[in-house]
Symmetry: C2
Subunit: 258 residues, 2 copies
């Protein structure tokens, strides 16, 4: 690819109403579509999470739950269709790319992916739209592939210029800002610092004090190792995704090699 | 694969109302789902056509029509979602497999396909559901992949036991039964006979007297060459698909090597 693509991840907690099953956050989807349209960044790959669509029917990772797999995938297709339709309505040439059709995982990690359709779509000026999905797994039968893992994988494989992670927080905090008012936003974190934070958690065997964000950021480590920066912004706040796409100054956490 | 799969194609003219844009034939989809459920054939691959969904917006095969490609694919996703949802509602473990996510064509012919997810779905007891789709093409930018071409490709690659082609006619006729009342149904046709019929058409430079059916059957020739029989039945008539799946005697055209 001549120009390196940007990979934009939109978190499930931003585009759906997490507390309500199978309920999209339509105003957020509409607003984010307008921000993407106005920023007009190309080439662009979009990945979205599932939020309340990703686990609609008490789906467990259990090979006997065949219909649960089918229903989970269909729920994700429903959410993806809504997003792609909105993008097309705003003249963004969005094409749904279904992970379950082109990815095989092994013990939950991406093992093989057909990248040619995706690369050709990018070359032809399309915006591929992928998502966290129920996929086949060579060890487990099937599993849930998270949008975060997929985002990081695509950034490395497509040699992306950067990842923009739109979540429902301002970025990575020293402690969980939802329970600790003294939590401090970390504006920049290097690979070395991340490794230390993770080691500390593993050694002390305590839970992730950042409220789960560190688990999310672990996926970004192989990306940072390749020299690809990731920028985490609050996509629930208007204009942040637009400004991040335009490389304008915005509050967030920059994850880089150092 | 230990047991050879059956590939069932449902024609777009059966599952949609061809004269009405973007209108599914809901009673036909419901009835065919029940027939598939009752026949309970496994492993089974389903392929469906697009009918009035396949060319909804005057889409032409023109690389400048970027949004036309997007809209055509989304229309096919809409139809496919409807069919897969209906199958799941009848407890058939159906999984949508999106051709645009896993197929690349070259000058309109399938050039590469990621078959692993499909094969693993079959092994795990799922019913993959594919469809005619807008796909990327290494020469043309993008193109329309017909459900017929995809059906034949899958039958060969998956070493299918047979193809069942459900169309809106009783099979292949000597002339077009829609305009010629003396048209006679051909109950069995061999590869050699098909080749002769096609040569005659090419030599005389006349149009296909069978009303387009021969063009459809040409796709089945590489399948017959492999020794895989195809059976063409009228899926618009109740019980035909059920009986064909159960290998019961039913009116139609058998295409085989000879």
């Amino acid at each position: 690819m001549s120009v390196k693509p940007t990979v934009l991840k939109l978190g499930g907690s931003v585009i759906t109403k997490k507390e309500k099953t199978l309920t999209p956050n339509l105003p957020a989807i509409e607003r984010l579509t307008k921000e993407i349209s106005r920023a007009n960044v190309s080439p662009l790959v979009l990945v979205h999470g599932g939020g309340s669509f990703g686990h609609p029917l008490g789906y467990k990772n259990d090979a006997t739950q065949t219909l649960g797999f089918c229903e989970t995938h269909q729920a994700m297709v429903t959410l993806n269709k809504l997003i792609v339709d909105t993008l097309i309505r705003h003249n963004i040439p969005a094409v749904a790319v279904s992970p379950s059709s082109c990815v095989v995982t092994k013990s939950g990690r991406i093992h093989a992916m057909m990248e040619e359709p995706l690369k050709r779509l990018l070359q032809t000026g399309f915006v591929p739209v992928l998502y966290g999905d129920a996929v086949v797994d060579s060890d487990l039968g099937f599993t849930i592939l998270s949008g975060d893992q997929l985002t990081a994988y695509l950034a490395v494989r497509l040699n992306a210029s950067r990842i923009i992670m739109g979540i429902d927080l301002d970025g990575l905090y020293t402690t969980d800002p939802k329970v600790d008012s003294s939590a401090r936003l970390i504006k920049r974190v290097t690979l070395e610092e991340l490794k230390e934070m993770i080691e500390q958690i593993e050694e002390s065997r305590v839970t992730d004090v950042t409220g789960g964000m560190l688990g999310k950021i672990v996926e970004l480590m192989p990306v940072a190792e390749r020299g690809i920066p990731s920028f985490i912004v609050n996509a629930a706040k208007p204009k942040n995704v637009y400004m991040a796409l335009k490389c304008e100054k915005v509050i967030g956490t920059l994850v880089e090699r150092g």
